[in-house]
Symmetry: C2
Subunit: 214 residues, 2 copies
């Protein structure tokens, strides 16, 4: 979290040293508890111990800072997905593995939505260009964003014969839609405080539905 943690109200150096990261860290912390609306530029600068306008040397606007936070959140979602993918047994036959991949993607998504509701909401508020830009270097470990990971899993499924070619087109939107809805309910909604096993079960049923229905 860089050196933004130094609680000194006025640092002595004038030069901060790493303000951009300090602001980003603060923004992430704000988003974590409170979602995108909680990412307040002035509050971030306060936490970093600088004057509000200092932020403008590193971000063009509040929106720009929020975008950086979103990029971080997206990469975290991707990480969560990859963590589930890593639990798969690679020795399975191709079809099972492909199905498991799609499930893992969904499970990671749902897990993250529940574990980090604020960041999750931040990642997907304003669904604009979820798949586009933000330089590839800082995405997930594999360099892919969540949407790309899903696409890949679906490609694998199609290749293994688990998804008829005529249904491949648009399949990411179907799968994403279905899981995203539940993720929202789980992250900010009525289902967040559901007992763990029940939530888990709902997730599994939903993934069953996707698997059968794709």
């Amino acid at each position: 979290m860089s050196d933004a943690s130094t609680p000194s109200p006025k640092r002595s150096t004038y030069r901060h040293g790493d303000l951009r990261n300090a602001l980003l860290d603060a923004g992430i912390a704000l988003a974590r508890q409170g979602g995108p609306d909680a990412v307040v530029l002035r509050e971030a600068t306060r936490q970093a111990g600088v004057v509000p306008n200092a932020a403008y040397r590193h971000f063009a606007s509040r929106e720009d800072l929020l975008l950086a936070v979103r990029a971080y959140a997206l990469s975290q979602v991707a990480h969560a997905m990859e963590a589930e993918l890593d639990r798969l047994d690679p020795s399975m036959d191709a079809l099972c593995y492909a199905r498991g991949s799609v499930r893992a993607i969904g499970t990671g998504y749902l897990r993250y939505a529940h574990a980090e509701p604020g960041l999750f909401k931040t990642a997907f508020s304003s669904h604009e260009q979820v798949e586009s830009d933000h330089d590839p270097a800082k995405a997930g470990a594999s360099g892919m964003n969540p949407f790309q990971l899903l696409s890949m899993a679906l490609d694998r499924l199609a290749a293994a014969g688990g998804l008829p070619p005529e249904r491949r087109l648009g399949a990411e939107y179907l799968a994403w839609s279905a899981v995203h809805g539940l993720a929202l309910l789980v992250s900010e909604g009525p289902l967040h405080h559901l007992p763990e096993p029940l939530r888990q079960a709902l997730g599994q049923r939903l993934l069953d539905m996707v698997e059968k229905g794709l």
Copy 2:
């Protein structure tokens, strides 16, 4: 839209007559184009031709106004659902009719999300108590909110044998989740500008998925 439309900067009467509704109308208009964040108290009072603080005689806070707008939006969603339900042929056998009901609910939801993205987002931002309060009089024509309509359709489906009893519990969340995700993509996201037939097709595929997977 009441008499809020009179463009006179200062009305002559001092008493507005129906300020509460004028503010509500303005709030609805704002939400329609811009979603919940666009519901700005001061702007609503401007459109109504009164001073900002006048709003506080009718709404406890901005949040309170937003709540009223949300209630309206929810009732509109319910209407859209009922409109689809009305298109069903009542002479079908019970199972078909029940399945058609569930589909109709989903179709109405998706239609509304596309037709009125701003109000749709307003209706379901902050998923808190979607099913609770807001006096029954001003809900849909049947007096039911979207969630209740879905519940009813699922009850019908279960009664007709189209949904095993052990799967009835939580079924509304599964169905809602799946459709809600697509509705979001369609209302604010990458899928809003999809050509009509494609969007329609995606919706149908999703509803197929729900039907099979419930």
